[in-house]
């Protein structure tokens, strides 16, 4: 079975600072990787995904993630965060033909002024 590890439960940063949220997955032949975001009192939303092709994928709000097969990682980065980026971020991987999403434990990003 696939598994996802998010090493940091909480990441505090100052506004306009860069941030990296780490995600490692268990190795498999083919991997589909995702980052979901959960803003306070809201449901999860897809932030970005890697299915194939370019290993660097980007979201519309400035986040990017790079698929690194040799390190089995899919870290999420943003060069300059805003207060509004404060949220819980979940890394996920697809498992099986049914396309079940397997989630990590989440990383709470806290952006302060």
């Amino acid at each position: 079975a696939q598994s996802v590890t998010q090493l940091d439960s909480q990441v505090p940063v100052f506004e306009e600072a860069p941030v990296e949220l780490r995600c490692n997955y268990s190795s498999s032949v083919s991997v589909y990787l995702f980052w979901y975001v959960q803003y306070p009192n809201q449901g999860l939303q897809l932030l970005l995904k890697y299915l194939s092709g370019s290993t660097l994928v980007k979201s519309i709000n400035g986040f990017e993630a790079e698929f690194n097969k040799s390190q089995t990682s899919f870290h999420l980065r943003k060069p300059s965060v805003h207060i509004s980026d404060t949220a819980e971020y979940f890394c996920a991987v697809i498992e099986g033909g049914f396309q079940k999403l397997v989630f990590g434990t989440g990383t709470r990003l806290l952006v302060s002024p």
Binding site: N41, G43, K49, I94
Partner: protein, 113 residues
Amino acid sequence: EADIYQTPRYLVIGTGKKITLECSQTMGHDKMYWYQQDPGMELHLIHYSYGVNSTEKGDLSSESTVSRIRTEHFPLTLESARPSHTSQYLCASSGSLGVGQAFFGQGTRLTVV
């Protein structure tokens, strides 16, 4: 904007009561899911459905049951609530297009006293 709705958003109920958490989607998605989310813990898949009259148990054992009589509706029932059922329950759906593109409801926070 995701068209998937969960009711109630919050529920406090006494031990031994029967409860049903509602989940409806208007996107015509064939796949639907229930996840259980505890603070600081990963989301655990407890039930999923391929389509009408199809339901399967997820990775985390749960005393809850589900039904899928209509495409748009995927309710979760607890026959006799216990304090150990206290958690957040998230419903999601996905269509045949968009691998991993699951749409989530806002969740139901259940407290059993």
